[in-house]
Point group: none
Chain length 226, copies 2
DNA sequence: TCACGCATTTACACCTTTTTTACACTCACC
DNA sequence: GGTGAGTGTAAAAAAGGTGTAAATGCGTGA
């Protein structure tokens, strides 16, 4: 059975949409705020997230970006705001579809079906907790532990680790990592990467001098190997 | 590069959309009828199909159903007809998104990007792995193994191997290989090839002195024989 | 204000890869 | 049998990338 997470503050709409989705045979979870929505997304692991942009406690673009750092779950955005600019921003942030209020139930359900059809229930990408060796990383809570002992990572270290983990097995070029972690302007400071990868190895690898999980691809970049 | 197939009968709109998509770095193929569209979809294998429902020679629902019998390529439907019923029918037939004319270029492109983004990550799950003998090469992850043991290749070695594998069975001239791997300026250093082909044989062939997969074509170049 | 943590910079030793250089081998041809 | 073009190995020298440690700068909260 598919689970849909509904992030919406208006009780009336929640009730309305919930009934429609349940009629489709979906299980429905609800969240009233974006913060709560992110938590639910992590714990419930829904097959689809339906997000209202008009929530008081946060920006939809930010929500999607943070979600996308660890999950590929399809996101259907619903909003009363419907300027072209809004749509483009949130779609490019990683949302999959955008529906303008007021919408018809039929179309909503058809779009939900289309998204669910495509969605793969591949938990690998949607698991907020990544494990390797005796290390555990909780991407949403920003908690890292090694051998049951908490490990403190700085903001940059954590961001770098997140990007590497989100692309497990793949080689990420220096350029790509720098753009993701430091932003476009620093795409030529390869030194940064060496230093921060060294930090991560020091904190997470059993034998930092012979890394197993954080591998170097000389001349290319780095790779997280689970 | 992504290829988009545009199935649309109005010349003006084709020109308009083509320019927008090309501005995104997409290659664009065009079809004026649904029949032609299906043919092109089969031969071109685009990463995305943009379909106008208002074509004279057929029904969009039928088009999508027939397409879906053999292809999972994302379909973005565009139409002047915009009754809820139309949308639901074509979405349930297998289309992925529905945009009502007139639409803004910005939103169109954002939705195209969203669809391409998802199909790309879908494809990455099924990584193409080339096998020969007891050797496995994962081109996208840059991983090579022989008899289940990981084999380390340098950047140049991997690049050379990639080019050879991408043209399996065909002879590649010295000139061609040098231009692909080292760039145009080094197209006369045949020595390099001998050295690096030797490295690859040493690492991948069962009997490096009598190569089976990496063959020499004397006076011409090299060939990868699967 | 001060101490502290973190991002950034600097410095240096080390290692891998690339390029260069040298030499042995094959095989047709004279 | 010599010759020479094309090829395969094995080493060097050169170039460039990498890992570590420590110093600097900068903002924050005590």
């Amino acid at each position: 059975m598919n689970t849909v997470l509904l992030v919406e503050d208006e009780k009336e709409i929640r009730r309305f949409v919930r009934q429609a989705l349940q009629g489709e045979g979906c299980q429905v979870r609800e969240a009233e705020t974006m913060a709560q929505g992110l938590q639910e997304a992590a714990s419930v692991k829904p097959q689809l997230i339906m997000l209202d942009l008009g929530l008081p406690d946060g920006d939809g673009v930010d929500f999607v970006q943070r979600l996308r750092s660890w999950s590929q779950v399809p996101v259907l955005v619903v909003s009363a705001r419907s300027t072209e600019h809004d749509k483009i921003l949130v779609l490019d942030a990683g949302a999959d579809d955008y529906l303008t209020k007021p919408f018809s139930v039929g179309e909503l359900l058809a779009r939900v079906r289309a998204l669910l059809r495509r969605s793969r229930t591949d938990n690998e990408l949607t698991t907020p907790v990544v494990q390797f060796g005796n290390v555990e990383v909780d991407l949403t809570r920003r908690l890292v532990s090694k051998a049951q002992q908490p490990v403190h990572l700085t903001a940059m270290e954590f961001k770098l680790l997140s990007v590497l983990l989100a692309n497990a097995g793949r080689v990420l070029t220096h350029r790509h990592l720098l753009r993701e972690v430091w932003g476009g302007t620093h795409s030529d400071h390869n030194h940064y990467l060496r230093i921060y990868v060294a930090h991560l190895r020091q904190k997470l690898e059993d034998n930092p001098t012979q890394p197993v999980y954080l591998q170097t691809e000389i001349g290319v970049g780095y790779r997280f190997q689970p």
